[in-house]
């Protein structure tokens, strides 16, 4: 486990800001102790400092994961969020999309969201902003990127994508092997 470099920290926070905006601050400054981001094999973990101290005594070859996996840095040094980060994204999400129950299944199989599947959308969603996708019963299903702004969505054709799929909870069984 090593600290993130300046550059990578910047990339990571930029990415997170797309989804949760200024709430990134809340991830770092928490009332229940210090939390930090750590990197191992290009994977970024978010973990309490107490746990981190203990985990440091374990040889890195034996250590598989600590705390929560947020995502990984690609070879081109871009950060890619994993579905495992959802539990921290959903409470702080800036813009949200709610899916009709008929479109839920489609999204969980990894498809983009068409206008016809759109149940609700938060008002201020901008184009290409990160959005967290919910079911109508407020169950977080995944996240993606808004293909249209809220205003544009109103006038879109039924089959036009309004949200590009990035990650969904179906991955837990679709690709359990590749979660890390």
């Amino acid at each position: 486990m090593k600290r993130l470099s300046e550059e990578r920290t910047k990339i990571l926070f930029e990415k997170l800001t797309k989804y949760i905006g200024s709430n990134v601050k809340l991830l770092i400054e928490r009332p229940d102790g210090l939390y930090c981001f750590r990197e191992q094999k290009d994977r970024v973990y978010y973990v309490s400092e107490k746990i981190l101290k203990l985990a440091n005594s374990i040889p890195p070859e034996h250590l598989i994961s600590i705390g929560t996996l947020f995502g990984k840095f690609t070879k081109s040094n871009k950060f890619r969020l994993h579905i495992t980060a959802l539990s921290y994204l959903s409470p702080y999400a800036q813009s949200k999309i709610w899916l009709k129950s008929s479109a839920e299944q489609q999204f969980l199989y990894g498809h983009h969201i068409p206008k016809s599947g759109l149940g609700r959308i938060s008002e201020n969603a901008e184009k290409y902003q990160g959005v967290v996708v919910y079911s109508m019963s407020d169950l977080p299903l995944g996240f993606g990127v808004a293909a249209r702004s809220t205003a544009e969505c109103k006038h879109a054709e039924p089959l036009v994508s309004v949200c590009f799929h990035q990650a969904d909870i179906g991955e837990y069984i679709r690709s359990e092997e590749d979660l890390l």
């Binding site: 985990a55 929560t68 169950l139 977080p140 299903l141 909870i169 979660l179």
Partner: protein
């Protein structure tokens, strides 16, 4: 072209009995269930009628036969008279009567008529019989009855009576011919002849004829009853004795036959003294049972033998049956993300039929049926529940994790129990989840993230090396890798793939893992210091024996698991004598608890010190034994030097010493014997050697040959058994005391 010509028109081909016509067979009851081995069948109405009539008929015939036999004599006598006197009236009457009786036929009218009948007549008679048998016969019989009654009433032998007798004789013959097809006739004859004999004996003149009749009847009844009983006994004997199969007919057998035989053998074994075949021992029966069970349930013989040792016969079948059936599907609510009530509601909305698992768990749910795949609902993907066997909840409940503790799950994959621990800790403290397999650890990662466990450190290494890396845990859960004999329903391959060596490998690994787990725990932890050991195996080798080993090797003690159900662990199992507190462990069986076969033990570590291995003890014992003769020598020397008054004191010394040492040796040997059954014999022989050397020392002191003899006896005794060992030593010591006393006097 056109329609097919219906060549078979009008010819209806019967296709045999349809599905509904196939009647179910009568149920087969095991013999021990039905009393006296016979099942009373209800007769149909017609059958009952027929039986009644048959009885009546038989009775009548018998009576009549008796009469006939006595009558025949008289008729012969009379006939002679007739021929001499030639009384016309009588002969006329006779002819008349014969004519009457054989009305439809035109028989011979000469002297031979009594036995000679035309063929046609017989046929006709038969026809009549067949056609209106019931009415005819009954009529005839009624007539006969009337006759008999008349006969009885008229006590004096008159001509009239004789004539009627003759008439009867004729009738009887006709009847006999006609009755050729009747089955009863032969039996009837037998009865009659016997009854005749009885009648001959019991012919007392001073009794009334009715009384005579009753006596005869009673005798006959008694005889019949006796015969019937004999027959019954025969039947019972035939049915009850389970024929011990020969080697030749073991080859080809249907599964049903095997099942039948299993039942029979078990029936024999449950009441062995009564039902056994004297030529075969119990072990032979057990062998057959084992083979049959192996073929019926397709186990290998080794595992079946283990199960047969583990369970009593009645339970064995239940266990095997239950092992064939899958346990109900259960899920555990993830209390980090939802509540059980909400989850149940959400699932019911999806068309799932479920129920709480029981009072003992607040997070378990049983799924009875579901319209959607339980492992792929949005609730599942959102981490609101995990599919987990009911038995997997138990070790975590036994562990009883507290918040802010440091807990280790040594073999965690796929993370069900570990995530349960995290849920109980409410994501506080630290949870270390370890597994040796790189592949399976991925499931742990997936499950932890799905369920929202954030306080975890997931490692992948050999659990046995864990103490080298990290210690000081408050609690450790060891769900050890095992043979899986408790979850045969899940994985049928267990049935055939396991042998002695696999089990040995398993329990060796389990012992090492358990010791490592104990070493990881901090005994001084304010809230913890507990280890929970669990397996999904039912074999004591992998459970009680492993715990027993740990109790000897580390400073741990068994404590209550806190589970209110489950059967107690074995304290005694075959040759093993485990620690008496072993009853605090819990066992769960598929047939009695409707969950996978499981074992849970909770240990508390009371000291971080690791006790030294048992090798030192042996040395101590040996030293004691070696020291002893020297001291004896000293005592003897002292005694020789001292005057008589002092003798007693020295004697006491001498007396005391050997007893103590011997006892200590005995104690240790017993301890050792408990530890390892295999080493017992070696230890014993060593012990006897020691005793022998001691004896030799005594010999050197110039004791009488008698002492030598007793000592030899002693050594022999020592070699035999533990119990006898103690006795022998007592005897010898008392004898040696006597000897010494003798000497000093």
């Amino acid at each position: 072209m056109g329609r097919k010509a219906k060549f078979s028109d009008g010819v209806v081909v019967k296709k045999g009995p349809g599905k509904k016509a196939k009647k179910q067979k009568d149920p087969v009851f095991p013999k021990q269930l039905t009393e006296n081995g016979t099942i009373k069948k209800n007769l149909s109405h017609r059958q009952a009628l027929r039986a009644k009539r048959r009885l009546q008929q038989a009775l009548n015939r018998k009576k009549q036969n008796e009469r006939a036999s006595t009558g025949n004599k008289s008729t012969v006598f009379l006939k002679d008279e007739e021929s001499e006197s030639g009384s016309d009236v009588e002969s006329d009457e006779e002819i008349k009567s014969t004519k009457l009786s054989t009305r439809p036929s035109k028989g011979f009218s000469d002297d031979n008529k009594s036995w000679l009948k035309p063929k046609q007549n017989k046929l006709q008679d038969n026809n009549v019989k067949n056609g209106e048998s019931s009415t005819e016969e009954e009529n005839e019989e009624q007539e006969e009855d009337m006759d008999q009654e008349e006969e009885e009433l008229s006590s004096d032998p008159s001509d009239l009576e004789n004539s009627s007798d003759d008439e009867e004789d004729e009738k009887l013959k006709v009847e006999k011919l006609g009755d050729l097809s009747d089955e009863d006739s032969e039996e009837q004859d037998e009865f009659d002849s016997q009854a005749d004999g009885a009648a001959g004996e019991g012919s007392d003149d001073d009794l009334l004829p009715i009384e005579k009749e009753t006596i005869k009847l009673k005798k006959k009844q008694a005889k019949e009853q006796k015969l019937a009983e004999e027959e019954l006994q025969l039947n019972i004997a035939n049915q009850e004795v389970f024929a011990f199969p020969k080697k030749s007919d073991e080859d080809v057998q249907s599964l049903q036959d095997v099942q039948q035989r299993i039942r029979e053998v078990i029936a024999v074994l449950t009441d062995f003294n009564k039902l056994r075949d004297k030529n075969h021992s119990r072990s032979e029966y057990l062998d057959i049972l084992k083979k049959d069970l192996c073929t019926y349930y397709s186990y290998n013989e080794f595992l079946m033998e283990k199960f047969m040792q583990l369970f009593p016969l009645s339970e064995l079948l239940e266990f095997l049956e239950a092992s064939e059936v899958q346990r109900p599907l259960t899920i555990r609510t993830n209390s980090l993300k939802t509540r059980r009530r909400d989850l149940a509601q959400a699932l019911i909305n999806r068309g799932v039929n479920l129920d709480p698992i029981g009072k003992w768990s607040k997070v378990g749910l049983v799924i009875y049926s579901s319209q959607v795949p339980i492992g792929a609902t949005p609730e599942y993907l959102a981490g609101h529940y995990i599919i987990q066997g009911a038995s997997s909840l138990l070790p975590v409940m036994a562990l009883a994790p507290q918040e802010n503790e440091r807990i280790l799950d040594m073999s965690a994959a796929p993370g069900g129990k570990a995530s349960h621990i995290a849920a109980i800790m409410k994501n506080t403290g630290v949870l270390f989840a370890n597994d040796i397999s790189k592949e399976r650890i991925k499931a742990v990662v997936g499950n932890f993230h799905r369920l929202g466990v954030v306080n975890s450190v997931i490692t992948c290494m050999d659990g046995r090396k864990y103490p080298k890396i990290m210690t000081g845990f408050d609690r450790v859960l060891l769900d050890a890798p095992c043979t899986g004999t408790g979850v045969v329903a899940k994985d049928q391959s267990v049935k055939t793939s396991k042998d002695e060596q696999d089990i040995q490998r398993c329990y060796n690994l389990q012992r090492e893992l358990l010791l490592a787990a104990i070493d990881c725990v901090n005994a001084k932890s304010s809230s913890g210091g507990y280890i929970v050991y669990s397996t999904c195996s039912v074999l004591p080798e992998e459970n009680e024996w492993v715990i027993d080993y740990a109790l000897k090797k580390r400073n741990v003690k068994l404590v209550e698991t806190g589970l209110e159900f489950g059967t107690e662990g074995f304290v005694n199992y075959r040759q093993h004598r485990f620690h008496p507190t072993m009853k605090l462990t819990k066992r769960f069986y598929p047939h009695s608890h409707n969950m996978d076969g499981f074992f849970v033990a909770k240990l508390r570590k009371f000291s971080n010190l690791i006790p030294k291995s048992g090798g030192d003890e042996v040395n101590i014992i040996e030293e004691n034994v070696e020291d002893e003769p020297v001291e004896e020598n000293k005592a003897e020397v002292k005694a020789k030097k001292n005057s008589n008054s002092l003798n007693k004191a020295s004697e006491n010394k001498v007396k005391k010493r050997p007893e103590q040492t011997k006892e200590s040796v005995l104690k240790h040997s017993k301890k050792r014997a408990n530890e390892d059954g295999e080493e017992v014999s070696i230890k014993k022989s060593r012990l006897s050697e020691k005793l022998n050397t001691k004896d030799k020392n005594k010999q050197k002191k110039g004791k009488s040959s008698k002492v030598n003899g007793t000592d030899k006896k002693l050594s022999v005794l020592v070699n035999k058994t533990k119990g006898k060992l103690a006795k022998g030593i007592k005897n010898s010591s008392s004898k040696s005391k006597k000897k010494l006393r003798h000497k000093y006097k």
